[in-house]
Chain length 693, copies 2
């Protein structure tokens, strides 16, 4: 890995986000999303399906107590947060039953992770108290041997790890660990971290390469990267080794999931008699959904459930970096290219089909039936940052930025109160209501989902946005996203202070104030792919080098230096690879990192009748939606006449009659905030004007 420049996250508390845009998003998460989700976790949101998450922990805690303190009265703690009282069910009625999805514990873990990040940016004594109480409850649910998954604590420990393929125990462990590390790093409190370590130790005793240990691995990945994070927080090699074991074991034959589910193996045997080769392929199809069809180092194409896939690849990238594992890195690179060259929407969304919430085949990127799950795009950001940590290459950061500002932010309403699970690039509400093929596509955000993976995942990502904006190596601060912040970086025992100010994503001017006198600080500034020519001032006496899309700046820093960067943000038309059938003859409008879309509320119904005049000059205008300011784009174009003679379904073809109109584009992430209405990202390109009607 000669050309690698390893780098790592900045310590969470050494970055203070000052950015207007991101601080707004973070405040929304802090003031709306985190409290709302706490209510949801406690089944107190009206008209939303109950989560049962905290209820399950309470039941598990109660069962633990009943076991330990037989006969003693059980006292239910009160959960009060900002005036809401938990009103737990009467303990008499806390029947020893598990409710909700098998992975319901993870709702808590994502929430505590989001709360942790939020606390690093904004002290909030009440949030911290509630979080501490919740942690106490969760820890009280832990079993004496360290096991901590309420589904099996409540339903019977004898079945522990009996269905790795479907039952998400290791997934819940992974999220718990992520939350525990985050809370420890944010607050210094190690109560939950210790619980996670005890659970990890239990798992490390159970699984592993040593004879007699279980050879299974997670059905839904995440434990792989969580274990790396636990290793990095604690220094305990056994966690790193367990992650390696899970990664290396995955997809080896005989398939562990076949051994676990002998009924599958039987199917295989029948096929065997027909054709061994055909059988191999059938087998592979069978476990593609779980990325367990082949050993990970032999995987070439991103397949299966998109969230699982990018979580796996993130863990692979972590291990490739820490173990300097070339073949694992090569697999990551292939899978990265498979995604970004063949399977990613222009919004950074991934997962083109709702069937299995999965990747479709290369270049199959339908806009109106897209799945493009918010969580999958979040996972793509995880993967991107980990690839950046191996080699700072703007290829990764460009995708990270694309996913962040577009697909991911679209997942949350501008008021933080409702969420998208699925992020289509074209919506006709009538079709969502009447066409069962599009029932997964919602035309408005939902308050909460029974399977509520996306909202809390979004909360933890937005709260920790700074750890994606910057990474560092010994002497270098990498700026991947231009997010306004105050950063303290230690270079050779001294502290350099870097203050970044920008009005991203609306304006491309960036001011970087550096106080690094006496340090060998190197600044590595990403040059975004959407900007052809940038300008920079303040480089007097500096040595600069452009490499892999980063501008490296070294100089003998003064008491204070000021760099002024300018990335002109011009409205741009984007074309898709001609292999993408759905986008042929169309273009998408972008400006800076923002992908734009048309909405019916601004452009009238039947958006498909609009076409864009590619030769015309677009204009940028200030606007706002629901009180949130943004730059809008107005692009001249045409509206095709909507009626045909006599309303016939078919007629002798003639050039379309069309009238000039202004197409009013809004940022994609802001869509569906003003009512249910049509939306469209890819717009037909009109013929040149001299040929129109």
């Amino acid at each position: 890995m000669d050309s690698k420049i390893f780098n790592k996250e900045l310590p969470m508390r050494s970055v203070r986000v000052t950015d207007a845009f991101w601080k707004g998003e973070m405040e929304l998460v802090r003031t709306e999303v985190i409290p709302y989700q706490w209510e949801a976790l406690n089944d107190r949101v009206e008209d939303a399906p109950p989560s049962y998450c905290m209820r399950n922990f309470r039941v598990a805690q109660k069962m633990n107590r009943e076991k330990r303190e037989q006969g003693e009265a059980y006292e239910e703690p009160r959960y009060i947060f900002r005036g809401f009282e938990a009103k737990p069910e009467d303990p008499q009625h806390l029947k020893n039953e598990f409710y909700g999805f098998v992975f319901q514990d993870s709702d808590f873990s994502k929430w505590i992770e989001a709360a942790a990040y939020s606390l690093t940016q904004h002290a909030d004594a009440e949030l911290e108290r509630v979080a501490d109480e919740a942690i106490e409850l969760v820890c009280a649910a832990q079993q004496e041997d360290g096991y901590l998954d309420t589904y099996y604590i409540i339903n019977g420990r004898d079945k522990t790890f009996s269905n790795l393929r479907d039952h998400h125990e290791l997934y819940c462990f992974g999220h718990l660990t992520e939350g525990a590390v985050a809370y420890y790093q944010a607050t210094g409190k190690d109560r939950l971290l210790k619980a996670a370590c005890r659970f990890a130790d239990y798992i490390a005793d159970y699984f592993g390469p040593v004879e007699g240990k279980c050879k299974g691995y997670p059905g839904h990945e995440i434990a792989e990267m969580a274990l790396v994070r636990l290793y990095e927080a604690t220094g305990e090699e056994r966690y790193l080794n367990l992650s390696s074991f899970f990664i290396d074991q995955r997809g080896t034959r005989p398939y562990y999931f076949d051994l676990e589910h002998p009924e599958n193996g039987q199917n295989r045997s029948e096929n065997d008699q027909k054709s061994e080769q055909k059988d191999e392929q059938t087998d592979e199809l069978r476990y593609q959904h779980l990325q367990a069809h082949l050993p990970v180092r032999r995987q070439e194409e991103a397949v299966g459930h998109a969230v699982r896939a990018v979580y796996l690849y993130s863990g692979m990238a972590d291990l490739a970096r820490l173990k300097q594992d070339e073949s694992l890195y090569a697999a990551c690179e292939r899978l990265w290219n498979s995604i970004v060259n063949e399977k990613m929407y222009v919004t950074g969304g991934i997962g083109a089909t709702h069937i299995g919430e999965a990747f479709s085949f290369p270049y199959d990127l339908p806009n109106d039936t897209a799945y493009s799950e918010t969580c999958a795009s979040i996972g793509l950001i995880f993967f991107a940052r980990r690839m950046l940590q191996i080699r700072p290459d703007a290829r990764y950061a460009n995708v990270m930025e694309r996913a962040f500002y577009n697909c991911v932010l679209a997942g949350m309403a501008l008021d933080g109160k409702s969420f998208f699970y699925v992020n289509p690039l074209e919506v006709v509400p009538e079709a969502c209501h009447k066409d069962e093929r599009k029932f997964h596509v919602k035309a408005v955000r939902q308050k909460w989902f029974g399977c509520a993976c996306c909202p809390p995942n979004l909360a933890r990502l937005v709260s920790s946005a700074a750890s994606y904006a910057y990474t560092e190596s010994e002497d270098t601060l990498f700026v991947h996203l231009y997010m306004g912040s105050e950063i303290a970086k230690s270079v050779n025992g001294r502290t350099a202070e870097i203050s970044i100010a920008s009005d991203f994503p609306w304006d491309g001017t960036v001011q970087i104030r550096v106080r690094a006198k006496g340090t060998a600080l190197c600044l590595a500034l990403r040059l975004p792919d959407w900007c052809e020519k940038y300008r920079i001032e303040g480089l007097e006496n500096a040595g600069t080098e452009e490499k892999d899309g980063y501008l490296y700046i070294r100089k003998d820093w003064n008491e204070e230096d000021l760099l002024r960067l300018s990335f002109p943000m011009l409205p741009r038309l984007i074309g898709a690879n001609p292999k993408v059938r759905e986008d042929v003859g169309k273009a998408a409008v972008t400006r800076g990192p923002i992908v734009y879309c048309l909405e019916e509320v601004d452009n009238g119904a039947n958006l498909h009748l609009l076409s864009l005049d590619a030769e015309a000059e677009p204009a940028v205008a200030d606007g706002e939606i629901c009180g949130v300011s943004a730059k809008m784009v107005v692009w001249p174009g045409f509206r095709q006449s909507q009626t045909e003679e006599g309303g016939a379904l078919y007629h002798t073809w003639h050039r379309e009659k069309k009238e000039p109109v202004e197409l009013k584009f809004i940022p994609y992430y802001m869509w569906a905030n003003r009512s249910e209405n049509e939306m469209q990202v890819w717009v037909r390109i009109a013929e040149s004007e001299s040929f129109s009607g």
Copy 2:
């Protein structure tokens, strides 16, 4: 119904088809499809799922005998047809069990109907013998009370008519009746007709408006039109009245299907508590699939399962005609317009979604996920002819022609050996294999289906094509389709002989030789909608009138008159209503009644990169596919460059690079005869050439 000109089918044996095109299709049905399907009905086609159809009749027959002749040995008849011996299972092994779909009996009925029509055009002693034997078997399965549905004969008569909603008894009765009438009209033999009458009498005793009789109606329609046909063949009013009862009863409240399935009613009661109005709508949605959501006279939009819908509408049109029922006719007219103005593919296919094999909402006509079932298009032809019988208006005949030459014929391979159930307008084989959303779309025809409605339905329609080409009133012969034939028509007690010759659908010249001296024969010739200007010679001394798309010709006929019609067939571009999202910016190529398509085998892969130069001159060329001659269309156009710089998924937009190519179109109905490959009907229209790169 003042403006109506009622007309009826010609007697089957008074038309002899001489047409090269249709005779070819009919010979294919006679020599390939009918024998093949007989084998299929007897479970003797390798690699095709068994039908069990004749087996079920054999079991029912055996059970009948066992009941009647207890103790006597059962002797299985041998079924030998063109060298194939039936090899029936050892009767010891004919277990008293029903196999296959609940409507499996209808396979026989459609087959016998096809055989009947075929016999009217081509005497075939062996076919007639096999048909007679099969009829003997079926009649031997009939119960003493007249009941004749093997599913309940085998599974227990106590459950007869207990699940009208799902169990297709009345559907099987309907098909049996259609087959019986056809066989009687073709051969004069009434063995099966009598069986059908006995079954009809049984049903008429069971269902009806009189108190105490069952108030149900068919879940899957067809009995309605079959009963009308039985009435017309026998003159028995009770069959007409039973049809009326089924039609009038349908969709009335309380829903019969709710009474039959009380578990549905319960759901309704729960909803009741919330909102009566919402509930009405929910109810309607619930039975839209079966067109039983509203009384038929209140139905405005064609909804639900497309085959069922057009079978129902056909029965409604029959009754509207015979009973001169204005409100029923008005409903037919509304439903007709709903289909042809909002829900029909350019190929005459209907049913846009595979979910429920159903109509989608207005203008939702996706090309690549189309259902467009062969049987639905056949049913649309039934409906069209019945509307024509009320009022000869080319609106109906134009659609009939469109469906016949395109969607319906596409259902059968050129060698008559394989069939499409689903008829998409755009196919990418990779998507059919890899995208579960398109698994219903096949890129090649299949040999036989477990649910084999389409192949025998196609056989019966093609064999009876002449009854769609012509109808008659007292003095008028209506020519709806230009099919070469010798027709004998009785006018005021004398016989007029009309001989029609044409090379349709490839050439628009039609010669009509009339020997009608002394008769008051009126000829009504359809003026096709695809022809702007026709020419006609031989009208000396004739009185002519153009009305509703027909040219009416009356004259003092000579010993022999010759009319020469000419409908120029020029390649034409068709545009879709702008409300059809999937076709915006695209056009379809047609010539005469034929819709054309592009295939990969002629045009290379990635058909979506082709665009058509609408201003260029197309050419017509002779060609052939699998030995079948046809007129092909070559239209100048362009192929967009397939590769982008560096293979990136997204790039700064630029006008597409494209090179001129000749787009080679073949008739749609001939697609997928030369291998699995891409196909596309709707083609993007290119910008005018002066703007192309």
